[in-house]
């Protein structure tokens, strides 16, 4: 059923501008926007305004935004707060929807790491199958000439 907005008497404004105090008071319904969303939206305003949250977390949350600069448009500030509420509400819903996928991706990534760790654990460091513990000696270098200094030392030792 379509709503006839011309005849329906609905006060859509959820904020009051207090020009004297250079602030705007916004009423938020916590049944529509959970506290987490309200905090997040308020957090984004910290650089533009002084923020105070009050009211009843079950009935009505009041957010006061006090402009940091006198030139700020208070009505616009309140409207952009409302938009921020919508953005964060969408973000929270999407995050909840995709949480399973994200968890699966992390588990898959951890699974690969665990398998690689298991492979590494199979190797016995005492047996040294890769020959890492064996010290390098010039004789083991194939195709390289032995430096003269080493050769002469060896010769003198033989004598």
């Amino acid at each position: 059923m379509a709503i006839d907005f011309k005849t329906k008497d609905v006060n859509m404004k959820n904020f009051d501008v207090d020009k004297e105090n250079d602030s705007v008071l916004i009423a938020v319904n916590p049944k529509i926007y959970p506290l987490e969303v309200i905090y997040s939206a308020a957090y984004t305003f910290l650089d533009r305004a002084f923020v105070i949250i009050d009211g009843d977390p079950n009935e009505e949350v009041l957010v006061q935004l006090k402009a940091k600069e006198a030139s700020q448009n208070l009505e616009e500030l309140a409207q952009s707060f409302n938009n921020e509420l919508v953005s964060y509400a969408v973000y929270v819903v999407q995050a909840a929807r995709t949480s399973g996928i994200r968890q699966a991706i992390v588990q898959a990534a951890l699974g690969v790491v665990e398998k690689e760790e298991e492979k590494e654990e199979d190797l016995d460091y005492i047996k040294d199958p890769l020959g890492i513990a064996k010290p390098w000696v010039p004789e083991s270098a194939e195709g390289l000439e032995i430096p003269k200094e080493i050769e002469t030392k060896e010769e003198s030792n033989e004598k």
């Binding site: 008071l25 506290l35 987490e36 905090y39 997040s40 308020a42 957090y43 910290l46 002084f50 923020v51 105070i52 949250i53 009050d54 009211g55 009843d56 977390p57 949350v61 009041l62 006061q64 006090k66 940091k68």
Partner: protein, 83 residues
């Protein structure tokens, strides 16, 4: 709106609603302001905490410092919530 930030006799008086700003966060934020203010925290009516901030120097702007405190407090609460 019961919460308030006001300047009285060269001191800042702040009423904080603990339903939105837990006591631990209030104390944590007060600790950050310790270098600049003498701070007193008391139990207020219902769920409110009353804070009195007395500046240690004359160079501090009292008209905005109380609101700055509230912004830091919100930031602290949000940090505890995570993403």
């Amino acid at each position: 709106m019961k919460s308030k930030v006001e300047v009285k006799n060269d001191e800042i008086v702040i009423l904080v609603n603990t339903l939105f700003y837990p006591k631990d966060n209030v104390i944590n934020t007060a600790d950050k302001f310790n270098d600049f203010f003498w701070i007193q925290i008391e139990d207020g009516e219902n769920n409110f905490l009353s804070l009195t901030l007395k500046p240690k120097s004359n160079e501090i702007r009292l008209d905005t410092a109380g609101y700055e405190f509230m912004n830091h407090l919100l930031s602290d609460v949000k940090d505890d919530m995570g993403d």
